[in-house]
Amino acid sequence: MFKVEDLKYRYPKGEHDVINGISFDISEGEIFGFLGPSGAGKSTTQKILIKILGDYRGTISYSGKDITEFKDDFYEDIGVSFEMPIHFSKMTAMENIDFFLKLYKNNADVEELMKRVGLWEDRDMMVGEFSKGMKIRLNIVRAMLNNPKMLFMDEPTNGLDPMNAMILKDMIREFRADGGTVFITSHIMSDIDQLCDRVAFIVEGKIIEMDSPRNLKIKYGKRSMTLEYKENDHTEIVEFPLDGIGKNKEFLNLLQTKEVETLHSGETTLEDIFIQVTGVKLKNEE
């Protein structure tokens, strides 16, 4: 659906490229994630894909046609949520939504969307009086009100409580189940792990690795067994590879001779893999 080839970008006043030749494609009906630390170029890439930033190098096509050939009706097809929720603060939630709704040919069922994110009761409140989480939820409604074919979401769960983050993730999954395609950026591992069909690791404007979360775990993850046992008056922790564990003499010996405190198998998280592959931590400040 979207095909990006050797994309490079430098901000007009920037000293060097912040996107350094990335290539990827997003298939129809797929949730494609961009995972990377702050400043990696996630938002910049999204802004290029949605035709807000021009003057990039490389080629980008949508439905087989170069995106520069599309006019403003491109936006009938897509829904966008930005990093920051954006609305007219001195208008009510519903006035905001009604205004934007009229600009599109295709209209979604607003009542249903508003109820889904739990804002229907507050629809006549000024957006300026909304809490941060409410604004983010309204932003999601705004992004979906034209029944888009494709959604672009820049850190959509950032600032949402776990409950609402879960509702949002369900909405995204349902959107895909109905045939929608999603581009999502995040530096929150669990979002990507739970949602994405494929993920690209992005660091300093370069894609370091790209695959499904499952394949990445198979490729980089190690499956292991961790055993904690009592040794004199302290606890010893040892790790064994899961493969062939039944024949591992040392492991079996410990099981038989020691007092076992805990025993659990573990698989490497996507976060561990990210650090292992890129050598960079996802969150530097939090």
Partner: protein
């Protein structure tokens, strides 16, 4: 589907209302009304057109400046950029809405005077003058706001421009600058052009080439600013102010 331009204009107008720009302009019209009400008939003849000129020129730039500032502070333009709306529609809707708004505030002043003071004014000419002048200054103010960093910066620039153009215009209107030389030089002053087309609606105005020159100035000037700056520079402005 209703025309998108109509929807945008309606949105702009309702925001002028919500963000209290409408109430402020009604207040300003009222204050002018009260001041003018206590003037005697003779002074009124030259002050009323002068007030209308200030309203169509300086106030137009101020109103569009504050509208753009409000919009900037809420970053709402970035959302507009991802709707099917074209840049032309966005810019045009602002020009139309602000011209309607200013024509409305000018009408308030005029209506007060027609009712209470029985002033003699040619309605068609006064609206032609007000609308052409307001359109020119709204577009010019829009272009100006593309280059403003903050609200105070904008106010300072408006003041400088208004004094630079306004004082010579006022001096000439009130007969302080008399030489022929000024007559020609001031033709290039947009505020003078505005004054020319608006005063033409009042008794005693002598129609010369100056009227037609000034009217053409407002209309052609508006078109040049619109097609030369307002439209082509909009995308860059919108992207920059949306925090990208």
């Amino acid at each position: 589907m209703k025309s998108r331009l109509a929807i945008l204009v309606k949105g702009e107008l309702s925001r002028l209302n919500k963000y209290n720009v409408f109430s402020i302009s009604i207040l300003v019209a009222l204050i002018w009304g009260i001041i003018l009400f206590f003037l005697n008939e003779d002074a009124l003849g030259s002050i009323l057109p002068f007030v209308l000129v200030l309203d169509a020129t300086m106030m137009s730039v101020m109103y569009i400046g504050s509208v753009m500032y409000f919009e900037k502070s809420e970053s709402t333009i970035s959302t507009m950029l991802v709707t099917p709306t074209t840049n032309k529609e966005l810019v045009m809707s602002k020009v139309i809405a602000n011209t309607i708004h200013n024509a409305f505030s000018a009408s308030l002043i005029i209506i007060v005077f027609i009712i209470f003071k029985d002033v003699d004014v040619k309605i068609f000419l006064v609206f032609l003058g007000i609308i052409s002048t307001t359109t020119f200054f709204t577009i010019a103010g829009l272009c100006l706001s593309y280059f403003q960093k903050d609200f105070t910066g904008m106010l300072v620039n408006i003041m400088i421009l208004m004094f630079g153009f306004g004082i010579p215009m006022a001096l000439y209107q009130f007969g302080v600058l008399k030489a022929d030389f000024w007559e020609y030089l001031l033709l290039i002053n947009p505020m003078q052009a505005g004054a020319e087309v608006i005063t033409a609606a009042f008794v005693g105005y002598e129609f010369t080439y100056k009227y037609y020159f000034s009217l053409a100035y407002m209309i052609i000037g508006a078109a040049i600013f619109y097609y030369g700056v307002a439209i082509p520079k909009f995308q860059k402005y919108a992207v920059k102010q949306s925090g990208v």
